[in-house]
């Protein structure tokens, strides 16, 4: 690891000020960033820990919206949205392992936008709003491809607002070695239609499967998906699965998600 200074502010304002320094980067749970620092994939001169900022932690549930502070750990999300948004709780409790869930945060996951991460699928399928220290970004405009988001340098995810759906399910086909999703499908049904977001599959990161959304919005049932398939072109191909295999899994998991949500 290169050397750096570690700052531990307790307010968003102080964190933003610290992030204004040259080569500064936020540190949340460190579950992704600390291993990358060790691999010298990142070389910040100042690391700004967000872990002591109480104003970006915790969950509030109000009028059909679940708002989760950007610094809230996966373990806290799992526990606190269990009743209000069970599919989201299920997603959180199946991230990694208990020690990872005690440190890793929703803001870190969404900022990182790993192509196999779970939260991006939930945010996109729920039409969530990513709240930062400067603005609000619709999930549809936020994810810009593998490890790329609309966040500007020094911008902090302070909260994520999820409209609670009528029904939802997350089906994760786990890659057993990494515990990330080999493919994961998050389906959410709202009064104005169904949204289906897929993680783990595309080389462009999380995406919406619009044909499935149209079919399911017309008639909500696994039958509606009969005959729908995706091409393996542009899908991730690696030692864990080919692009065609991943494309096949998306259709299978989407059917399972419909059954689980129905």
């Amino acid at each position: 690891m290169y050397s750096f200074e570690l700052e531990i502010p307790t307010t968003v304002a102080d964190a933003v000020a610290a992030l204004g320094k040259d080569e500064a980067q936020p540190l949340a749970g460190g579950q992704t960033l600390i291993p990358s620092l060790k691999a010298r994939l990142a070389a910040p001169s100042v690391l700004v820990s967000l872990a002591q900022i109480d104003e970006i932690k915790g969950v509030t549930i109000e009028g059909g919206t679940v708002t989760i502070g950007g610094g809230t750990t996966h373990a806290t999300v799992a526990a606190e949205v269990a009743e209000a948004y069970p599919a989201l709780s299920y997603l959180a409790i199946n991230i990694g392992d208990p020690a990872v869930r005690n440190r890793g945060t929703i803001g870190g996951s969404l900022a990182n936008n790993d192509p196999s991460a779970c939260y991006p699928a939930a945010a996109l399928a729920s039409g969530a709003t990513i709240v930062t220290n400067t603005r609000e970004i619709a999930a549809d405009d936020y994810f810009e491809g593998m490890f790329t988001t609309a966040l500007e340098e020094g911008e902090i995810v302070t909260a994520v607002k999820f409209p609670v759906p009528e029904a939802a399910a997350y089906i994760k086909f786990e890659q057993p070695a990494s515990r990330f999703a080999l493919v994961g499908v998050f389906l959410a049904k709202y009064a104005d239609g169904v949204r289906v977001a897929v993680t783990g599959a595309s080389e462009d990161g999380v995406f919406r499967w619009s044909e499935a959304e149209d079919a399911l919005s017309n008639s909500f049932g696994a039958d509606a998906l009969e005959g729908l398939s995706l091409s393996g072109d542009g899908m991730i191909s690696d030692l864990h699965g080919s692009g065609d295999y991943r494309a096949h899994l998306i259709a299978v998991l989407t059917k399972r998600a419909v059954k689980a949500a129905a």
């Binding site: 690891m1 290169y2 050397s3 750096f4 200074e5 570690l6 531990i8 460190g30 579950q31 600390i34 291993p35 620092l37 060790k38 690391l47 820990s49 872990a51 373990a75 990694g96 392992d97 208990p98 020690a99 990872v100 005690n102 440190r103 515990r179």
Partner: protein, 161 residues
């Protein structure tokens, strides 16, 4: 360098650390508590699990300065006050829950938070909870058995998988 103060296994400690000093380095190199093992150093294997304010955390993936003011427990703090093995540690010995012993500190620390939150877990729950603790020797079976035994449950009927 910044000064950090925390409680480790019940004792107050205060030391100067650099920003990039990991908790594993702080425990092993500064405090000479070498029971916390480093297997992967990338938050994958769980050999380094410790408790920070009662929660399991991978010590290789938290900086020492982040534990300012915290109460930390390592494997060295798990034995009973008289030095005898704790129930979980004794069960690992009784049920042959270790071979080389490299993963054992992390296994015991994870087992302790599991049983704190879920005093009578099922075999499946134990296996799920240990997802982040990798063992290259035992095949896990006797580890699971030891933890179930430590929870006071009858393990005679548990067949090897």
């Amino acid at each position: 360098m910044t000064k950090v103060t925390m409680t480790v296994n019940g004792k107050a400690v205060s030391k100067e650390v650099s920003g990039n000093t990991l908790m594993t380095e702080f425990l092993r190199d500064e405090l000479h508590l070498t029971g916390t093992h480093v297997g992967c150093d990338t938050s994958q294997c769980g050999a380094c699990v410790i408790h920070v304010d009662g929660e399991s955390v991978k010590a290789c993936s938290i900086f020492a300065a982040e534990a300012e003011g915290a109460s930390v427990t390592t494997i060295e703090g798990m034995a009973n006050a008289d030095g005898s093995l704790s129930v979980i540690q004794q069960a690992f010995q009784d049920y042959h829950g270790l071979q080389c012993g490299f993963c054992t500190p992390g296994m015991v620390m994870s087992a302790a938070t599991l049983l704190k939150d879920n005093p009578k877990p099922t075999e499946h729950e134990v296996r799920e909870y240990l997802k982040g603790n990798i063992c290259r020797c035992t095949g896990y079976h006797n580890i699971v058995k030891a933890i179930l035994a430590a929870s006071g449950q009858d393990v005679t009927g548990i067949a090897a998988e």
